[in-house]
């Protein structure tokens, strides 16, 4: 018994000494900010640990990488957006000065042919009106502080932008519905084919008077717009919904990525749509009617969509042949 207790004491002393010697330098392996930053290297992850609050993302202590998103946001992105929009307006002005309004060479015939029915026009104008508001409220987020804020002052600009945010969040939904509708209605006429190659070779006849390469319902230029709108719109929709539901999208790094993609697509698509608006209104005589009344002048149609007019004529000839009673 005596030996046992002596042994126990000796053991306890040994353990104590062992512990004491392990604690000589309590900070030997302590984490330091420097070592944790070095461990991060080029990785974009945060210096992170554990938190006792429910929000586990609060465990990210320091994320220096976020600052590069911030500087991209106020630097490159602003510049790109301004260049895309102002650049396109500049190009179109130049084009208008050089080429002028594209006229119907053979003059207006006075005869009309139906190009877009009510559903087509409804889908188009829903998409168009929502896109314009979405684009303007979106652009306001990027350049508003430098362009509109000085004019309105902080309070009015804040209130306006707040309304803009609400409009942006809600109008996104009719935009997506109209986008889907447009896709279903027009995809069949927008599949690229051989006619487009010839159309593109002749530059669409855009740059030369009197040149009218053949085209079906949609020419190659319109097909480019169609696919830009469909693909760009789908990209905007996906990233936009992710930004609306940040909890679903993930964490800060995901939001940054989605926001960047969203803004870049928006800048590009805005430039394309500005060109589309130009050619559909002031840029070309007779073009607006297609989406206005839905009926275009036959001479305009023959010049710009020759093959389509022939198709329509053949169709109506067949219809009337069928409806003519047999004698």
């Amino acid at each position: 018994m005596r030996y046992l207790s002596q042994f126990m004491i000796a053991l306890a002393v040994l353990v104590f000494v062992g512990q004491a010697s392990a604690q000589v330098n309590p900070t030997e392996r302590a984490v330091t900010e420097e070592s944790m930053f070095e461990a991060l290297g080029t990785d974009t992850n945060a210096v992170a640990g554990r938190v006792s609050i429910p929000d586990s993302s609060a465990g990210n202590l320091i994320k220096p990488e976020n600052k590069s998103w911030a500087s991209f946001q106020v630097g490159t992105l602003q510049t790109l957006s301004v260049v895309a929009v102002v650049g396109m307006v500049g190009l179109l002005t130049l084009f208008y000065i050089v080429r002028g309004r594209i006229q119907v060479d053979s003059g207006m015939s006075g005869l009309k042919i139906l190009r877009f029915g009510a559903i087509d026009r409804f889908a188009h104008w829903t998409l168009a009106s929502t896109f314009i508001i979405l684009a303007l409220t979106g652009l306001n987020l990027i350049i508003g502080t430098s362009v509109i804020l000085p004019l309105l002052g902080e309070n009015a600009f804040g209130a306006l932008t707040s309304l803009g945010k609400i409009a942006h969040n809600y109008l996104a939904w009719p935009f997506m519905v109209a986008l889907a509708l447009i896709f279903v209605l027009w995809v069949i006429d927008n599949i690229p084919d051989k006619v487009d190659v010839e159309w593109l070779k002749q530059g669409g006849g855009i740059f030369k008077k009197g040149v009218h390469p053949p085209a079906k319902k949609f020419n190659a230029g319109q097909k480019v717009i169609f696919w830009a709108v469909i693909l760009g719109g789908a990209g905007l929709s996906f990233t936009g919904v992710m930004l609306l539901f940040p909890g679903v999208a993930g964490a800060a790094a995901d939001w940054q990525l989605y926001q960047t993609i969203h803004a870049l697509i928006a800048a590009g698509l805005s430039a394309i749509i500005i060109a589309h608006i130009y050619i559909g209104s002031v840029g070309m005589e007779g073009a607006f009617d297609a989406m206005g009344s839905g009926e275009v002048d036959v001479n305009w149609a023959k010049e710009h969509h020759g093959l389509w007019v022939e198709q329509e004529k053949a169709k109506s000839a067949k219809d009337s042949a069928l409806s003519t009673p047999a004698e």
Partner: protein, 198 residues
């Protein structure tokens, strides 16, 4: 004028979370929002350290640079504050912040972000100092009362320091020299582009 900063001496922090609680109580911070939090690094491993973190009131604050309505402003004490009347709750400041400071009550459409809330360095907002309107939106204004932020003032181990950057850096430097070690002024390099050299 002083250049106000926070400095958390991680070698003193015992992760008691009293700074978090004090902050929530002092400012009646909304449910689900923590203006300050304590993060434990290398938890359970040798060399574990805890750091109390809130808005660092950065020099050239990235939140302010990305704000689409320019609702941020920097006070004479170099405290970064924001105007909740102007804020639209877009979330950009939270994307830009390296410290995860900006947070949002879930009150807006689709249950997403309301007006942003973050640490005010206990110095309120743009409303008149110590007014009820200021208290409701931003919490109490201790700086106007001549006091420093409560989180640091009541820290039991004096791990969390608040005050003029030069003074708290000197205190920290002296501690490091005296005890022979220090894990660094967490966040300083990211927030102010400099750290406390010892």
């Amino acid at each position: 004028m002083a250049r106000m900063k926070f400095l958390c001496d991680a070698d003193r922090c015992i992760e008691c979370n009293a700074c978090v609680t004090a902050c929530k109580n002092e400012h009646e911070v909304p449910w689900g929002i923590n203006r300050r939090r304590v993060v434990t690094l290398n938890d359970g491993l040798p060399g574990e350290r805890s750091v109390s973190m809130a808005c660092m009131h950065c020099t050239d604050a990235p939140c302010a640079s990305v704000c689409p309505v320019d609702c941020f402003y920097t006070t004479d004490d170099a405290v970064v504050l924001h105007n909740k009347d102007t804020c639209i709750g877009c979330g950009y400041c939270s994307y830009a912040c390296p410290f995860g400071a900006p947070q949002y009550p879930q009150t807006a459409n689709f249950g997403t972000r309301g007006k942003m809330d973050k640490c005010t360095y206990c110095s309120g907002g743009p409303e008149p100092d110590m007014s009820q309107a200021e208290y409701v939106k931003y919490g109490s204004n201790r700086l106007a009362e001549g006091k420093l932020p409560l989180c640091a003032e009541m820290c039991s181990t004096k791990a969390l320091l608040a005050g003029d950057g030069d003074i708290i850096a000197d205190i920290y430097r002296e501690r490091v020299v005296t005890r022979g070690y220090g894990s660094g002024a967490w966040g300083w390099r990211t927030a102010y582009g400099e750290t406390v050299a010892v």
